[in-house]
Symmetry: C2
Amino acid sequence: MAVTIREVAKRLHLSITTVSRALDGYDDVAAKTRQRVIRTARAMGYVPSRAARQLRRQRADTIGYIIPGRAPYFTDPFSAEFIAGLGDAATSHNLDLLISTAPPDSEAEHHVYARWVQSRQVDGIVLSRLRLKDWRVKYLAQNDFPLVAHGHTQLRLDFPYIEMDSRTGFVQLVKHLAERSHRRIAYIGAPAKFTLQVERFAGYQQGLAAAGIACDETLIAESDLTRTGGYQTAQRLLALPERPTAIIGVNDLTAIGAMRAAREQGLVVGSDIAIAGYDGTEDSEHTDPPLTTLKQPIYDTAQRLVEMLLKRIAGEPLADSHIILQPELIIRESTNFDLSS
Amino acid sequence: MAVTIREVAKRLHLSITTVSRALDGYDDVAAKTRQRVIRTARAMGYVPSRAARQLRRQRADTIGYIIPGRAPYFTDPFSAEFIAGLGDAATSHNLDLLISTAPPDSEAEHHVYARWVQSRQVDGIVLSRLRLKDWRVKYLAQNDFPLVAHGHTQLRLDFPYIEMDSRTGFVQLVKHLAERSHRRIAYIGAPAKFTLQVERFAGYQQGLAAAGIACDETLIAESDLTRTGGYQTAQRLLALPERPTAIIGVNDLTAIGAMRAAREQGLVVGSDIAIAGYDGTEDSEHTDPPLTTLKQPIYDTAQRLVEMLLKRIAGEPLADSHIILQPELIIRESTNFDLSS
DNA sequence: TTGTAGGCGTTATCAA
DNA sequence: TTGATAACGCCTACAA
């Protein structure tokens, strides 16, 4: 059994109160007493019981994040980097990070959120991969539970979020391709319920319009944000009678899968066909050829979200509760050639 | 404020005791009473306070995992899949998973482990990427704290673990390369303090010996398990007066980085040079060409580790506390050619 | 400057 | 079969 405050007090012939206050830095403790207390506590290896403190203070000093995805096909570099950002930020604020996994809109997802909220084991929740009508946002807002999100919804509810202007990003990307003589630009997206799909697809269409390219329905496909999904979907697109000369993936993983499909068809990515993604994960630097992508600062965003969440939990006002960042178009060899030359 | 058991009791004109027992499934509660209690509790949205329960029961129903690695360069697919496995297993046992991040042997790492152990906020800890003399194992064993690990140490301490026989795996891999006429087989490893490095390197050497190939020191390099590390290290190896014809990476990421370095030197992976990795992550399927690798069941292993940890926590004996699995050699195009043809 | 006492929400012991 | 009561370990009015 671990050391309790009572044992420390007994050892020092002091009351629990005094020990508690000395340790918490109250100023109504004699400097000398404080010294003794601190030294002894450390020597005895005393660390307050998290449970007792939580019960008393009515907060958990813990934030929660539920990984959206269906295991075991979960190797999403976005989530990995996001979790790293959350974890580091949490640690540096002396918080803990509670993690669970649940497929979007599954029953399991409902369970976990309900459990965390009702049992008060986290003080706030970070949401990612928002859906247009995200039940999680409704639920948390209803329960007046602190939340921050990576992305927005279509709901009439106000909550703090950080978001990438991925629409503009995709416009730039299409422009980049059009300038290199592409007219048949395919798009492999995600299920339409995700905000990211709606935004990125809108950018794709807007980009086509700006370039004076008619939108060809046959070049638009839906996938599931995974490599394998991108691979299979690209195979279908490449089997079209008139195949696309460029493929945009809704994320890097999709694009990486598409690259493989192209290679298997005997196409050389970066000269026969252009392929681009979104996220700017480390993967994209090391593909063959390196992948053109729209880079978003995943790690930093996660850290900032934690800061925002802490303010929300503390009830402090947020200077800026809707932060919109521009992704950076990183042009690499996978698209950097002119189709007509 | 959330609903407490007291409110449920009041509503039902019952004592808290009865409500508590009805909900926990004790059999000394009238069936009828139980019905009423359960229905009312659900209707009121009652969920027990985690903190109160923890305090009373003296356990947290939470397990912890600290991601080894230095952010923000943390996009390790191994960890991602491992966390998914832990998370799903935890959820299915109605446990929570607490996550933090800390670079190996850093001060931060010491802090986190000490905090979790002393404040009793986790009931057990899962360790990965063990070191030969892993202070974490010593520390946890000293405190009689439940742990399970992915891999072993050189310490004279007994603890449950699951481990891959990566040594034999690497022997097979070298054999595979030698059979395809490779004699200059390079190895890009990890820091020597990691058990995985010692094991895999031993397998590499054993494989060379078995094939009658003298070990050439200049073909052995150390890196940091990342893509970028593999890339830079491979650049040096490929710049040797007599370059290697094959490169083995200690993990897939290293190999993926090496593939990029090879391409940039104008070499065609899969005909000019062979490259192989270890882990069998999803990445390896989609590289160009697909990467030969030794596949280990990361997700399943994580799940089994949780099962073992639960038994340890419950004080139940483990049928088998040292599980050793064979990795599967998956031969793909990156090595599947004969150098002499 | 220090100590006493009450309670956070549960569960477990004992009595009714 | 049910209920009163005492912890679990900590924090904080309030009293001394």
